[in-house]
C-alpha cells in the first residue's frame, strides 16, 4: 500500500533538531517543511497545505503558545502538536485547552510522535470530510431549489 504522506510543518528554533527530525520523518514517508520561529511558521501556513504543525513551546520572539493561538484563529483546521523540552507540562496542557491536538516531552519517542501525527491527521481528514459533505448537502439543497 502506498503511504499518503502527512504534510508536517516542523517549528523549532533548534535548527539541528529540525534538520534531524525532518530527515527521519521524511525517511518514514512524511513531507516536512521546516520553520525556525513563530513568524516563519505562519508564513508557511499561508502558502503550503499543511496537515499538522509540530510546534516547540519555548522559542525566542513569538513563543509556541502565541503561535498556537494565531494558528487556531487563522487556520482552525490545521492540527497542532506541541513539543516541550521544558518542565512546564502545565503550559502544554494550557496549549491543549487552546486547541492543540496533543503534546510530547522532548526528547520525544519517535514511535509516540508517529502515532500522534497519524491520529492528528486522521482527525483533520475526518473534519475535512465532514466539511466536504456539508458543502455537498448545501449544493444539493440549492440544486433542489432551482
Amino acid at each position: 500500500m502506498i503511504k499518503i504522506p502527512t504534510n508536517i510543518l516542523l517549528v523549532d528554533d533548534e535548527k539541528d533538531f529540525v534538520e534531524m527530525l525532518s530527515l527521519r520523518l521524511e525517511e518514514a514517508g512524511e513531507k516536512v517543511t521546516p520553520a525556525y520561529d513563530g513568524k516563519m511558521c505562519l508564513d508557511v501556513l499561508e502558502t503550503e497545505p499543511i496537515d499538522v504543525v509540530v510546534l516547540d513551546i519555548k522559542m525566542p520572539g513569538m513563543d509556541g503558545i502565541q503561535t498556537l493561538m494565531k494558528i487556531k484563529i487563522m487556520y482552525p483546521l490545521v492540527e497542532v502538536v506541541l513539543l516541550t523540552g521544558h518542565g512546564t507540562t502545565e503550559t502544554a496542557i494550557e496549549g491543549m485547552k487552546l486547541g492543540a491536538f496533543d503534546y510530547l516531552l522532548k526528547p520525544a519517542d519517535f514511535d509516540d510522535l508517529q502515532t500522534i501525527l497519524a491520529d492528528a491527521k486522521k482527525k483533520k481528514a475526518a473534519q475535512d470530510e465532514r466539511i466536504r459533505q456539508a458543502e455537498a448537502r448545501r449544493l444539493l439543497r440549492r440544486g433542489g431549489n432551482i
Binding site: R24, G85, G87, P107, F110
Partner: protein, 379 residues
C-alpha cells in the same frame, strides 16, 4: 532560687581550718548543698581535676599554695567554675586582687552565713546564665545551618531543572540523528553494507543511552508525563537480572562477584518498570564503584507485607558518617568529576518517595554498605 536548683550546686570549700570548714559544710547541708572540702590550695586543684565544681569558696590565707595562686590555676583550667574568696578582716587588698584575677566576689571573715549563701547562689546563677547563652548561640547556629541547607537545596533544585531542560535539547538532536541513521540501515540498498552489524549495535547503544539520560532529565524536571509513567506487573527478579547484565562489564573489570539472592515464591508487583530499573541501575553501579577488586555484591529480593524489598549489599569501603546525611542530596558526590553526576541517589529517593516507599542505608567503614528499598504494591 528554688530549693531543687540549690541542691544541684556542686560546691567546694577550701580552708586550712578544719573546724571552720566543718561548721560551714553542716550549715550548707541543712540548706540542701552537699559541699566537698579541701584543706589546701594543692588539694583543691587535685580535686577539681577529677570533680568539676560550679562554685569554689576559698580562703586566701593558707599554708602552701595560697588562695590567689590557686585562683589563677582555676581560671586557667576550669573556666566554668566560679570562685568566691574569703579574706581576713584587715586584708581587703587580697580581695581586690582576687577580683582582678577573676574571682566572682570576696567576703571578709568572719562570714555571715546567709550572706555567703546568697553569694554562692548568685555565682551559680551566673553559671546557669552563661550556659543558657551558649545553648542559645548553638541553637541559632544550628537553625541557620538548616536554613542554609534548605536554601541550597532549593537553589540546586532550580538549577537542576534548568540544566535538565538545556540538556534535553541536544539530547533530542542526538536521538533523532541516531534514529535517522538506524532507519537508513534498514534500507534495501544497505543490506550488504560492510560491518553493518557493528553500526547497528553502536546506534542501539546511543539510543538506549539517550533514553537513560532522558529518564534522568525528566525526573529532574519533576515532570514525568502521566502516560509515560506506566504501571505494569513487574517481575522484579527479571529486572534485577537485566540490570546485572547492564553493569556486568563494570563488575567483571574489577572481578566483582554479583549474586542475586531471591526469596522463594516472589509475587510480581504493580509498579513502573522503568523507574524500578532506574533505582536498580543507580544502586548497583554505586555498589560496584564502592567495592574494591574481587569484592562481593549481593542483591536480596524478598516479599514484604505490602510489596517488595530490594537490598543491595556490598563489602566495599563504607560511607563515612558525615556523608551519610548528604548522599541523597542532589550533586553530592565523592566520585571524581565526570564519574558521577551526584544525582543517582537523589533520583532514587525521588522515585521511591513517589511510590510511597522507603530507602534506607546502613554503612560500616571498612565493612560495606547496604541500601534497602521498600516498594509498596500499587495495585
Amino acid at each position: 532560687m528554688e530549693p531543687e536548683l540549690i541542691r544541684n550546686i556542686r560546691l567546694l570549700l577550701v580552708d586550712d581550718e578544719a573546724d571552720f570548714r566543718g561548721t560551714l559544710a553542716k550549715r550548707l547541708l541543712k540548706r540542701g548543698i552537699a559541699a566537698h572540702q579541701a584543706g589546701q590550695g594543692e588539694a583543691c586543684l587535685a580535686l577539681l581535676a577529677n570533680h568539676p565544681m560550679d562554685v569554689v569558696v576559698m580562703d586566701v590565707k593558707m599554708p602552701g599554695m595560697n588562695g590567689i595562686d590557686a585562683l589563677h590555676h582555676i581560671r586557667e583550667r576550669h573556666t566554668e567554675t566560679e570562685v568566691i574568696l574569703l579574706t581576713g578582716h584587715a586584708d581587703t587588698r587580697d580581695g581586690v586582687e582576687g577580683i582582678k584575677a577573676g574571682a566572682f566576689d570576696y567576703l571578709t571573715k568572719p562570714v555571715e552565713f546567709d550572706h555567703l549563701l546568697s553569694k554562692i547562689i548568685q555565682a551559680y546563677d551566673k553559671i546557669l546564665g552563661k550556659k543558657q547563652k551558649i545553648e542559645a548561640v548553638a541553637y541559632k547556629a544550628r537553625i541557620e545551618q538548616q536554613m542554609i541547607a534548605t536554601e541550597r537545596l532549593a537553589a540546586l533544585g532550580t538549577l537542576a531543572a534548568g540544566v535538565a531542560h538545556e540538556i534535553n535539547n541536544p539530547l533530542a538532536i542526538i536521538k533523532e540523528a541516531a534514529g535517522y541513521l538506524s532507519s537508513l540501515l534498514q534500507k534495501r540498498e544497505l543490506t550488504d553494507m560492510p560491518r553493518k552489524a557493528v553500526f547497528e549495535k553502536v546506534l542501539q547503544k546511543i539510543e538506549t543511552s539517550v533514553k537513560r539520560a532522558r529518564i534522568i532529565t525528566h525526573q529532574l524536571l519533576g515532570n514525568v508525563r502521566k502516560s509515560e509513567s506506566i504501571l505494569a506487573e513487574v517481575d522484579v527478579i527479571q529486572l534485577v537480572e537485566e540490570t546485572i547484565q547492564l553493569v556486568r562489564r563494570e563488575a567483571e573489570d574489577k572481578d566483582i562477584a554479583v549474586a542475586l539472592q531471591a526469596a522463594d515464591g516472589l509475587k510480581p508487583i504493580w509498579a513502573d518498570p522503568n523507574q524500578i530499573r532506574q533505582i536498580l541501575i543507580n544502586l548497583l553501579s554505586n555498589a560496584i564503584q564502592a567495592t574494591p577488586e574481587e569484592g562481593r555484591i549481593a542483591i536480596q529480593v524478598e516479599s514484604t507485607d505490602g510489596g517488595i524489598s530490594i537490598a543491595v549489599i556490598d563489602n566495599g569501603a563504607g560511607i563515612p558518617k558525615e556523608n551519610l546525611e548528604k548522599i541523597f542530596e542532589p550533586f553530592f558526590s565523592t566520585k571524581s568529576p565526570g564519574e558521577g553526576t551526584g544525582l543517582g541517589l537523589f533520583v532514587t529517593r525521588e522515585i521511591v518517595d513517589k511510590f510511597g516507599g522507603t530507602v534506607e542505608v546502613v554503612s560500616r567503614m571498612g565493612h560495606g554498605t547496604q541500601f534497602t528499598v521498600q516498594i509498596p504494591n500499587r495495585r
